[in-house]
Amino acid sequence: MTNNKKPTVVWFQAITCNGNTHSLLSANSSRLELFLNSFDLIYHPSLTIDKSLNEILESKDEIDFLLVEGAISKNSDFFTISDETTNVLLNKLTSKAKYLVAVGSCASYGGVHAKFEQNDNVVGLEESLDKKSTKNLKHEIINLTGCPVHPEWIIQTLFTLNNFGKMAIDEEGRPKELYSTLAHHGCTRNEYFEWKIEGAWGEKEGCLFYDQGCRGPMTHSSCNKILWNDVNSKTRAGMPCIGCTETDFPRDNMLETKKNIGIPFEVPTGISKRAYLSITGVAKTFTIDRLNKKLMD
């Protein structure tokens, strides 16, 4: 790095469990190091030590990348940071920023915290920003959904914005390159899905779509392409995708498949229910030894 003026990054934490922070810290370590070398993370409430949030707010300097973890609320009865509501702080910070990135589902649309009905004002960034504050933004808000978001998605997004100044985003504000494919893509259980072989808890074999509630075929994410912690994904391990990158997360009854007379209520994105059921019927008539047997037998 010869250029000594690195783009500045401010990480603001609002209503959160800190899961996205720990997700970032769990990134591939050489990627994290490259990121820390290439950007200047000038503020993170739990990691940095040089500046306080107040100093950031009082400083005249622009923020190149404002990253926000957590949902936002106007309600000071339930949530304040340094005596201000997260809404006020977000607007102040945003007015200094060039790029605004929502890190995780809570920052994107409220996520789990929006389920706390007694606080009727828990929302994502987009909903809580005043027009005035967004004047200086060079790009639409980027929503990196996920509960938590994959650390590599954060790193790739920041490098891309920094190198190219723009990214194609979908109607939810998510980078298309990360969210146009489904969690289902790359799942090691795909063959079982094709041949309609049902899985069970605690087994390597079978697909989790039929009983365990897997949302892989309806969830836009690259969990099975860019593996978690470099090594795995939930569906590979045996846990269904719970659709944490979609705006309807968290849904009810996440660990079971909603069915109607034994037939999954929802079928994969992009196919009619009738067509899907006919394929299922045909596929089920085959007995494929390799798939019906235990893998390790």
Partner: protein
């Protein structure tokens, strides 16, 4: 004189209110002003959905919440006389997962949350310990992220997996998976030998006297020197009472007041709310925090690694405690000592997994068909004892109560007694010291108020 200070660089934020007398803190109060309402969110949900929600109470100790939830749900079965069969394999895989998370948390806590503040008391240049830049900080962060891979092998990812489920676990690791897990743990063992303790692992595990402090040469030694320079062996003492609710192959249940007792009666665990905001009552001047207070048999007890070492008879820490009581020094050393024992224990647990056993045995009854039942569970999490209490009615969650370790340590006073951290802070000579005392408990405000 009174001062109010906002404490950052913990998990979340806390407000420290101090009264001063002759430049010494004569009274202290800790406020946690944020509340996310998890217990309310859980009401009316399907019982299994709690496995997805409760890990999201906290991004760093989610597996402890997951384990507490799965135990509570299994205890529900037991309470309706349908005790589930859970294989030793599934039990091991749960304990291993939880251990790994604690290992990750202890490494991060030492290097990210406590060491920089202590070094800063003396010098401006943090050198290799500089957050985000220093080689040791980066080494610690790398070690944590390598270690956590072994949990991702089981859970598919970390943070936030729900791989434990009533009846077992969803995962079915191969021998190769188990060996990779062992490899990742070994990365942390190497880091412990080289950087944390600076002595061979086996030698460290044999530590049993105060003199062993002289054998240390890594960052624990560096910490020890800084601690003695700042008299941390004398400050931060609290009630000197300890509790551990949960148990595992490494941890023992019990409490120490005057003497150690290994039997606890969970009905003596009680929460108090005289000083705690409620949804209906935020304006009451008596109330100042969202944290409740929790007592065992009406007394405050410290929970966490120091408590576990005392109750579990860990010789090195017991010896340090003889000389230095429940001081900042002993507390920090207990957490780092626990790191070594966790690494050792986790490796041996991985070796015990018999992959030919089932990972999961299906319960005969669906939780949704249960008309009414209650259950409690206790688990040892990174920061101490975690308690979950669930009530199901007509197949839905009617009530869910969570008491986190930080409520034990950081909750407000009750009747005449000062809370654990509150009492420990009194006597500090500066705000910087007070903050270190507070941090010695490994503060997690998101957990405290949940």
């Amino acid at each position: 004189m009174k001062t109010v200070e906002i404490v950052e660089r913990i998990e979340g934020e806390a407000k420290l209110n101090c009264s001063w007398d002759n430049n010494v803190i004569s009274d202290a109060r800790i406020d946690f002003l944020n509340f996310r309402g998890f217990e309310f969110i859980l009401e009316g949900k399907a019982p299994l959905d709690a496995l997805v929600y409760t890990p999201r109470i906290c991004g760093i100790c989610g597996q402890a919440h997951l384990k507490a939830t799965v135990d509570a749900l299994e205890n529900i079965y037991e309470n309706i006389n349908e005790k589930l069969e859970v294989t030793p394999k599934a039990k091991l895989l749960r304990e291993i997962g939880l251990n790994i998370e604690i290992i990750d948390s202890h490494i991060k806590w030492f290097y990210m949350f406590i060491l920089p503040d202590i070094i800063k008391l003396k010098q401006n240049d943090l050198g290799i310990y500089q957050p985000l830049k220093g080689s040791r900080w980066l080494g610690a962060s790398k070690t944590a992220s390598e270690t956590i891979k072994s949990l991702a092998i089981l859970g598919g990812q970390w943070p936030h997996t729900s791989y434990m489920i009533p009846g077992g676990v969803v995962t079915d690791p191969t021998l190769l998976d188990l060996s990779s897990m062992m490899n990742y743990i070994d990365t942390a063992v190497m880091f412990f030998e080289k950087s944390v303790a600076g002595v061979s692992f086996d030698k460290y595990l044999d530590f049993d006297s105060r003199d062993d402090l002289n054998i240390l040469s890594g960052d624990m030694k560096y910490f020890t020197n800084l601690a003695f320079e700042n008299s941390f062996q004398k400050i931060g003492t609290s009630h000197n009472r300890f509790i551990a609710l949960g148990e595992s192959s490494l941890f023992k249940t019990g409490k120490i007041r005057q003497r150690a007792i290994n039997k606890l009666d969970l009905s003596k665990v009680r929460e108090f709310t005289e000083q705690t905001f409620t949804i209906e009552d935020r304006a009451n001047p008596k109330k100042h925090t969202w944290s409740k207070a929790v007592c065992y048999d009406n007394n405050f007890y410290e929970t966490g690694p120091l408590a576990r070492a005392m109750i579990g008879n860990k010789p090195f820490i017991k010896e340090l405690h003889k000389s230095f009581k429940d001081s900042v020094f002993t507390r920090v050393m207990a957490r780092m000592d626990e790191l070594a024992h966790l690494l050792d224990n986790t490796k041996s647990l991985i070796k015990q997994v018999d992959i030919s056993e089932e990972s999961y045995i299906k319960p005969k009854i669906n939780l949704k068909d249960i008309d009414s039942a209650k259950a409690t569970s206790v688990v040892e999490a990174c920061r101490g004892s975690l308690y979950h209490d669930i009530e199901i009615e007509k197949g839905k969650i009617k009530k869910y109560d969570v008491i986190t370790p930080t409520v034990w340590n950081l909750g407000p006073s009750h009747k005449e007694q000062k809370g654990i951290a509150q009492k420990a802070i009194i006597g500090s000579k500066s705000l910087d010291i007070a903050k270190i005392v507070l941090r010695s408990f490994d503060v997690c405000s998101v957990c405290t108020t949940h």
